[in-house]
């Protein structure tokens, strides 16, 4: 910024500074125009409209009316929506915990010297699930999680174990969805942790090795504190994604058995687009967004604290 304001005065002989500043402002507005217009149309205005909808009973035929907090009251008092809310939080808690911790363990395991082709192979294996659509891999996993014809149960029987009803048992279904989610997403966190670990100054770890510090102590005393901002970022990033979980559940269990695995996103689509309870669906999506905003705000506050230290 200081550079760009200094330049015009340096070349004042050629063009008057005011002309240049005007040209700069004009170009600036021209360049941000497409993004600004699209952003207003497809993000900001819809968000504001959703908030307004959430306070109303929407009916395009009879006309909409303002209902205040009714939609929110309905969400927070109905046992069914609370159960679905709890499902989502439960999924988020376990998916985040395992995605981040497994990702960190994998990163520690891979953060060592190895030939290039091996590194390519590891990145391929662990990152491929990350980039292939959840909708695609979930279909494959429905056959892995099958009862009698399922791939996993085949191997369980092979070693003498009993079939597990991965998706049809209401206490097991959520666990199965979390298992698939960790398979799919942990590689993302692994890659981020590898990058963070490579920033760890070698002199410190080497000194610790020389002193004969045990490995677990090195991890808790040196490595973990050093990468803790990254760990925290990963927890926040994973939570925001997990709160929105949709297609993996739709495809694996359709929210069932019963409501055992139904998530907030599924409820939003069902209420908004099948039952046409648009105001109610809007309220649910606002609740989801507020949780995301709170999580992000906490992260911002804490990371500012870290930077100051």
């Amino acid at each position: 910024m200081s550079a760009s304001t200094a330049t015009p005065s340096a070349r004042a002989t050629r063009t008057r500074p005011s002309d240049l500043a005007r040209a700069q402002a004009l170009t600036g507005w021209l360049f941000v125009m497409p993004t600004t217009v699209l952003y207003l149309t497809f993000v900001l205005a819809p968000v504001i409209l959703t908030v307004i909808l959430s306070f109303s009973y929407f009916d395009p035929m009879i006309g909409s009316r303002w209902v205040g907090l009714d939609n929110y009251a309905r969400f927070f008092t109905s046992p069914r929506s609370l159960k679905i809310f709890f499902n989502t939080l439960q999924f988020t808690f376990f998916a985040v915990t395992f995605n981040v911790s497994v990702g960190l363990i994998l990163a520690m395991a891979l953060n060592r010297a190895m030939p290039g082709w091996l590194l390519y192979f590891f990145r391929l294996a662990f990152f491929l699930p990350v980039i292939i659509a959840a909708a695609f891999v979930s279909i494959v996993w429905t056959y892995f999680f099958g009862d009698d014809l399922g791939v996993i149960n085949y191997f369980l029987r092979l070693v003498g174990l009993a079939n597990v009803r991965w998706l049809t048992d209401s206490t097991m279904a959520m666990t199965s969805i979390i298992i698939m989610d960790v398979w799919k997403n942990t590689g993302f966190f692994m890659i981020i942790f590898i990058a963070a670990l490579q920033g760890l100054p070698r002199s410190i770890t080497e000194a610790a090795v020389m002193d004969g510090t045990p490995a677990w102590r090195q991890f808790f005393r040196i490595t973990l504190p050093y990468i803790s901002p990254v760990v925290f970022f990963c927890i926040v990033f994973a939570s925001i994604g997990a709160l929105q979980v949709y297609e993996s559940i739709v495809i694996l269990t359709k929210g069932g058995p019963g409501d055992a695995t139904r998530s907030l996103s599924i409820l939003i689509v069902e209420e908004g687009f099948s039952s046409f309870q648009v105001g109610y669906a809007a309220a649910i999506s606002v609740v989801m967004t507020v949780i995301i905003l709170i999580i992000t705000a906490i992260q911002q506050l804490l990371s500012r604290k870290w930077v100051q230290q």
Binding site: R11, F42, I139
Partner: protein, 283 residues
Amino acid sequence: MSSALRTVSAKRWLDASIIAVMVLLAIGMLLPFLWLFSTSFRLPSEAYKLPPAFLPPNLDLTNYFAVFDSRVPFLQIYGNSLLIAVVVTIGQMVTCTLAAFAFSRLSFKGRDALFMVLLIGLMFPAQVTILPIYLGYARVGLINQPIGIALMYLTSSFGVFLMRQFMLSQPKALEEAALMDGAGYLKIFWRISLPQLRPALSALGIITFTQTWNYYFQARVLLGRESAMTLPVAMDMLRGYMGAGNLSVVMAAMSMAVLPVMLLFLIAQKFVIEGITMSGIKN
């Protein structure tokens, strides 16, 4: 000295055994993909047969041709997915780069405030914008139009953020010299800044293409008609039509559906990983 040697060789053993375990784990990670490709080559009558196949029993493409003979307009659906992904990718490369140039190189009134407002957009999930977009689209006739989805994603806060971060890390000397020589901002952008942006542009392009190819929530809500669908939604429907009888045809369709992103990844692994993790670290 002998003890030092011993620790060195112990460390080497440890390294080797950890890598051996990781190789097994990595193969395990790939099993769903191996199963998907192998099943697509199995005879439909044997698709469910146990043991499951993790290596293709043959390379007969019958199941692949069967996809195109099915009730589902697979070619058109594939075309919809390609159209949306290509339009969105090109669109974001243009709009995000232009905006990022303005945010990082030009000073104008309201610049920083506007950027903050854009950044807030990173936090809004699709769930909180979809209802008004649906209602608006219903009014202007964009429901069941693949281009409607493309329109929604012609820009992204993330893309602007990514490109701006990259531009801020680039030296400005050349641009300032050109300005001294009397070049206009348009010329500077086109001739000097843009050529330097190639790595960031490919990262953005790859991320955007992958993301758009994979959209499900938005597509499921806005594109209900078969002929307007995209692959992620259509695969689930195809599975329903085929029933239990034709799993290998479903997997053949799926193999074709994952192909573009998978090829992108096999060829440009480094770019894909750097691009996608850039979103993580730079935040």
